[in-house]
């Protein structure tokens, strides 16, 4: 029974981080209608950035949030402005060019990082990386708890931003109906650029928060991109609330899969869920709750 609670806790905590990843991606999907297959790679870049700040500047990862988030925001903006926005005007047989472009970007990012850091596994060990505390026989990882806390904070901030600020509302407008929004004076191109930046910043936060309890190597982007779209599909495209549910669900599924079936299956779990959702619940949670 203790194992059950243990797994549950681990799943929820990780799920909080996953939610952060998912929100970024679903925002991008909702606003731009593209699937950012470089999402995990952006996270990877943020993790390397965090690593560098930690080892060379001696900064605690949680402080690095202040650097990694704006940093990746900028990267996202640059990518959208110079590589993705122009695609909207390019005439081609295949509409999936944007998706393909993100694949290319992902590959480039991975290889650049590999070039700089080699393929070695890196990690960041802080004083609290391995620390745990106990509540009723169940151990909680300190690092994950703090990460969860930050993730919740950022999520709440995101919601506030989307609902209360002008920029946030413009983003939602573009997500709903680009033409109508443009007619009302919203610069769709600028909004798209901002959105990719935002999505990148969020996933950067997830990366930075995750690093103390995870390991880092260039190819880590791929699995996280996959997790990101599993979460997004689970939650329903464009639904930020859905992304939260999706994130936690995936976190739980992976935790239970790892505990009760076997470590090998962690990745498979996500994929299987993905396919099941595609088959049986194409709208994701969003469809169920109409949020």
């Amino acid at each position: 029974m203790e194992v059950f609670w243990q797994t549950l806790v681990a799943g929820v905590l990780k799920g909080g981080l996953y939610a952060l990843i998912g929100i970024g991606m679903t925002l991008i999907m909702g606003v731009m209608g593209i699937i950012n297959l470089a999402h995990g790679q952006l996270m990877m870049v943020a993790m390397y950035l965090t690593y560098v700040c930690f080892h060379y500047l001696g900064l605690d990862p949680y402080l690095v949030l202040i650097i990694s988030m704006p940093g990746l925001f900028l990267l996202g903006v640059v990518i959208q402005k110079y590589l993705l926005n122009p695609l909207l005007k390019v005439e081609s047989l295949l509409p999936e060019n944007q998706v393909l472009m993100t694949v290319g970007i992902g590959m480039v990012l991975t290889e650049v990082m590999r070039f700089i850091f080699t393929s070695n596994y890196l990690s960041v060990k802080t004083g609290y990386s391995d620390a745990t505390f106990f509540i009723g026989g169940v151990s909680f990882s300190v690092a994950l708890c703090i990460a969860f806390f930050f993730a919740a904070l950022l999520t709440a901030a995101m919601f506030w931003f989307l609902i209360k600020t002008d920029l946030g509302r413009s983003i939602r407008a573009v997500a709903q109906d680009v033409e109508a929004a443009s007619l009302m004076g919203v610069n769709a191109e600028r909004i798209r650029t901002m959105t990719l930046g935002l999505g990148a910043a969020l996933v950067a936060a997830a990366g930075t928060l995750l690093l103390p309890v995870y390991y880092l190597f260039p190819d880590i982007g791929g699995p996280f991109t996959r997790k990101a779209f599993v979460i997004t599909i689970l939650g329903g495209l464009g639904s930020t609330v859905g992304a939260i549910f999706g994130g936690i669900t995936l976190g739980l599924a992976e935790a239970f899969g790892a505990t009760y079936i076997g470590m090998d299956f962690e990745d498979m779990v996500g994929l299987v869920i993905f396919i099941l959702v595609l088959l049986f619940l194409p709208g994701g949670f969003k469809r169920l709750t109409k949020v």
């Binding site: 047989l93 295949l94 991975t110 599909i233 396919i275």
Partner: protein, 335 residues
């Protein structure tokens, strides 16, 4: 039905004569790869370029074909050539559930689903050790020592793929495929059973790619899940071959195959050793570094290639040929 054109026949003749003229095993190997990619690229082109369903999961068919051949030899003790004959059919069998799962989605979600299936297959092949030997892979004895027979089989396969596309494109099937690509709803309302024809299109792709997979098994003698179900080396390579050459054109994949294998090799060998020679000639140690990094960066180049091609040449070398000619000042200017 098929009008043979002079330049095609000349190219075919050159290809047939190639192994008789070129004896170097290395270049023969490259050409075999090119021909294999012509087949895979053509398969992808049918489902993606002509029918508009962009698949990121062709490695599923390749891998299934490869394992069919491999397992015939490994488990049943029969010649792996049985696999060549049947590889296409097992891939075809896989195409049905594959299509069933993925075709209910459109556009980018279809692409995602194919990608997910690709990864599922890869994982399953790795985990299901009793069937596939997992990460250990399958090793078989190759039937021929010389590369020449493999070359001609690859050539036959490539020619067959191109002929297939040529036939399909000008037939009722071809019209139906393109209609689906252009507007699936309009296609339905003029009586096209889009679900059925998408499946047909996928079947072609699966069969061709599966055959290529079996050929690979027979030729290379060794496969494992990472190699044959690889997302980047097979599925995305197939897409690149299609895009660089030209989607929706008959000979696009052929051109693309040639270019992509060439690019891959140029980088892997640092300009076929030219950079190395330059290093030695110039004696600059800096050149040594450059050589080393160039030879390790072929994935990086692929990434850059994707980005550049999509931005500048989305219809590929064949599709954007007029644009390219103009860029080099070779075309007629449009007034």
């Amino acid at each position: 039905m098929i009008k043979p054109r002079l330049n095609h026949l000349i190219v075919l003749l050159l290809l047939i004569l190639f192994p008789l003229v070129v004896k170097d095993a290395y270049y023969r190997h490259l050409m075999i790869l090119v021909l294999m990619w012509v087949t895979i690229g053509s398969g992808w082109n049918i489902i993606a370029g002509y029918t508009g369903q962009v698949s990121f999961g062709d490695a599923c068919f390749f891998g299934v074909g490869a394992y069919t051949a491999g397992l015939f030899a490994h488990k049943l003790g029969l010649s792996a050539w049985w696999g060549l004959a049947l590889g296409g059919f097992t891939a075809l069998a896989i195409a049905f559930p594959f299509g069933w799962i993925c075709f209910r989605l459109r556009g980018a979600y279809f692409a995602l689903a194919t990608l997910a299936l690709n990864e599922v297959f890869r994982h399953m092949a790795t985990i299901w050790e009793s069937l596939t030997e997992g990460m250990v892979g399958i090793l078989i004895l190759q039937t021929f020592v010389s590369k020449v027979p493999y070359y001609y089989i690859a050539l036959a396969l490539a020619v067959a793929s191109l002929l297939t596309i040529e036939l399909v494109v000008h037939s009722r099937l071809g019209y139906y495929f393109v209609s689906i690509r252009e507007d699936q709803d309009a296609a339905e309302s003029i009586g096209i059973n889009t679900h059925y024809y998408k499946m047909v299109s996928l079947s072609f792709a699966a069969f061709l790619t599966g055959m290529a997979g079996s050929l690979y098994m027979n030729y290379m003698g060794f496969i494992d899940p990472e190699v044959v179900f690889s997302l980047h080396d097979i599925s995305i390579m197939a897409i690149l071959v299609g895009i660089v050459g030209g989607v929706g054109t008959i000979y696009g994949p052929a051109v693309g195959a040639f270019v992509m294998v060439a690019v891959q090799e140029v980088f892997r060998t640092a300009g076929f050793g030219a950079l190395r020679a330059l290093t030695r000639a110039s004696g600059w140690s800096f050149m040594e570094l450059v050589t080393k990094y160039v030879s390790e960066s072929h994935v990086f180049t692929f990434g850059v290639l994707v980005v550049v091609v999509i931005l500048v040449m989305p219809n590929g070398l064949v599709g954007d040929w007029p644009k390219i000619k103009r860029a080099f000042g070779l075309g007629r200017s449009r007034g």
